[in-house]
Amino acid sequence: MGEQGYGGPGHHSDAVEHAGVEDSGTYAIDNPGLPPHRPRLADEDPRAAKKAERQVAFLFLLSILGTILFFVGYFVIGQVGPDTAAETLRLQNMLLGLGTAFAMLGIGVGIVHWAKTLMPDHEMVEQRHEVRTEADRADAQGIIEDILEESQIKRRPLLRNTLIGAVALAPLPAIAIFRDLDDTDNRSDLAAENFGVERFRHTMWDEGVRLVRDPSGTPIKASDVTIGSAFHVIPEGLNELQYGKLNEKAKAVVLLMRLDPDKLEVSEGREDWNVDGIVAYSKICTHVGCPVALYEQHTHHLLCPCHQSTFDVTREAKVVFGPASHALPQLPITVNEEGFLVARSDFQEPVGPVYWERG
């Protein structure tokens, strides 16, 4: 701290002498020290200094105007509500933004300009110090050794070991107490299949559940589904759920479309899962669960807009591109006696992303 003065030119020239000593001989030339200070216009010309002062004051005045502008936006445009036009809202937002910007930039630019033109621009030098001194370190080490010695923890291993055991176990309740972050399996009104990971396997679909449009809930006749059309489908009764509607919807949403039956490749065991080329697939991407919402009629591809997983509907929604690694589950469907599309059963495998217990 010895070299640290209170600023000013005298101190500064001191620094020049000082520099260059440490690295002398290391480089092609010795450290020449700080370049001479070049006075600014305002340092020498009082008129320039006065001009800078006026500029700074102008910027501060601009800031005051900005604050006023903010109040104009806030009070003159006034309270927003149901009758506020979108343009008014936009104008208010703009005035608030512009007002704050002027208020802030006026102060900020003003102060920085002040610092750059009027405050001294002599560079000053301060010496660095060792982060620690050797004596301190030795003292500290001695103190810690004394503490350990006086505590007798080294001499009494029984105390040490039992303490380690106790301290290792004591935080476990603090972890265990978070077990009920998922408390759904404490609810007695839920069926057993809705406990734990088992519920990932089950959706609202079941034998005879009608396929209805999302979101209107109207049932779909097989004859409504023309070739090339696609329907966003939910199970009947979903909209009437009071609790957990979104949970069920997150698993049960289905895409329905009709293809030329000759184009469909149907694997063994799935022969009666479609109705004359009408097929239903889970809309939940098997990658990380986004809705696979884009259907390309020409190629019969389903595309997930999140990560571009692409599934070929003619080949039982097999993955043809992108990061998904298995096909979309197919919902077995048929028609009931009234001609409405219904599910034959629930999905035969879990929908959505892969998880450890999935199999």
């Binding site: 520099a19 480089y27 092609a28 030339i29 370049p35 630019v109 660095r128 809705p291 571009q308």
Partner: protein
Amino acid sequence: MSTTTEYSAATRTGRISNFVDTRMGVSPMVKEFGRKIFPDHWSFMFGEVALYSFVILLLSGTFLTFFFDPSMAHTTYEGSYKPLYGLEMSVAYASSLDISFDIRGGLFMRQVHHWAALLFVAAMSVHMLRVFFTGAFRRPRELNWVVGCLLLLAGLAAGFTGYSLPDDVLSGNGLRIIDGILKAIPVVGSYISMFLFGGEFPGYAVIGRLYVLHILIVPAAILLLIVVHLFMVVVHKHTQYPGPGRTNDNVVGYPVGPVYAAKAGGFFFIVFGVISLLAGFFTINAIWNYGPYDPSPVQAGTQPDWYIGWFDGALRLMPGVLGDFSFKWDIPFPWGVNSIPLGVLLPMIPVGILMVGMIVWPWIERWVTRDDREHHLLDRPRNAPFRTAAGVAGIIFYCVMWAAASSDLIATHFHMSLNDVLYILRFLYFAGPIIGFIVTRRICLALQRKDREIALHGREAGVIEMTPAGEFRERHEHLSDYELYRLVGFENRRPVPAQPGKDGKVSGLEKQRAKLNKWFYEERVEPVTRDELTAARAHGHHDAVEADHGAHGIDR
């Protein structure tokens, strides 16, 4: 204490400071900080931008908490935004709409908050790159580098938890992706997901939980880390660029009071002003366009906030199937089949390596270079070609993943096939960092050679002269000592060959280190030496510039 005569102040400032000092004893602090020297350079401002953005986040965020309700209970919207009137939605989404449409200045504060968040992470990232490329993380600042890395990660956590709060379609789909990634974790994934969501996705709990993290835990952690970060800056004193008058043992710059405080303080208002301009004129996250969260709809071409992009892009780059091979790995155990979605997990491994590599880089470099000295003078990036090249390789790796997050937009914008865009990016994912490394190292060496040439022969003046003999020459202007010192005043780092250990043998690990070390330093341009400079000055000009290249530099 009471026996000494009271100091009586002569000025008003003196009286006030005496009042405070006799009660709190702050004079030593004023002595220490009042004239503390901070070096000045434009690249030192990024950290400041980050700090100021955080202050603005706290201010605007506090306003928002007074009006936001993180409940996921169902409600019917009856606010001012007509297109959504009467729709069923969560209370969280409804209150976000109210902030936007029914609370004066609410929309503005939302926009300020979101823009400041983007700027916060951006400024931290750029600040970190500055620290990396100038070698400011070297001893004694390694621990502060780690604190900085943690701050960046905490910034990502703050951004993500905040992004999910409004419960619109966009943020809900973001949460759904998180749900999918969590479920991918082997053994415990399903349970972690169920604990987060309080059962199945989306449940009724997650927004309230994220809200607590977002407004309490994460900002508290960031605040604590900032305090530690700044405390260490004070302990270490700031680094400075090499140059005339600067040495490893001094700090050259402006005193805190008044110059630095004015510049830094003024800069806070400038950052605030710029964010206000953005918030006033550029709509961001227009949640009213997306509608309430519903697991069925999704919008094509939506993007996460920029700092989440590279995670998303990493997911997109990974193929889920190769021909008939599927990256869904079903492992038959005696108790049944368990599944691991490698298509989700594999791309997260390089992401993790990049993060861990970033944190431990100071120790890697220290081990390889055996350089354990204190460094307070920064490197010009060109004078550390290996580090600079490695950094650029990392940036390219990051940016390829980041670009992949916009693969669909790139495809539609440039009228390319989506598949082709992804194939190109997959190629760049592997080749880009390597090409970037080689090219950057070449550029660094070329810049060093240019420095040498200018140091030895001066700057081309652009004036062609004819000698009496009729020869044409360009005049070269010699540099001043101040300019010259900038070009020659850097350390000549040479490879450190393998050293025998305590037992007198060279261990295998040490051989590997030496190999890496050679790779680090082998190609380099030596700084101009005293003799070369004298010779060049004696000659006048036009010596061949000998750039030291390759191993022969070691033996000298």
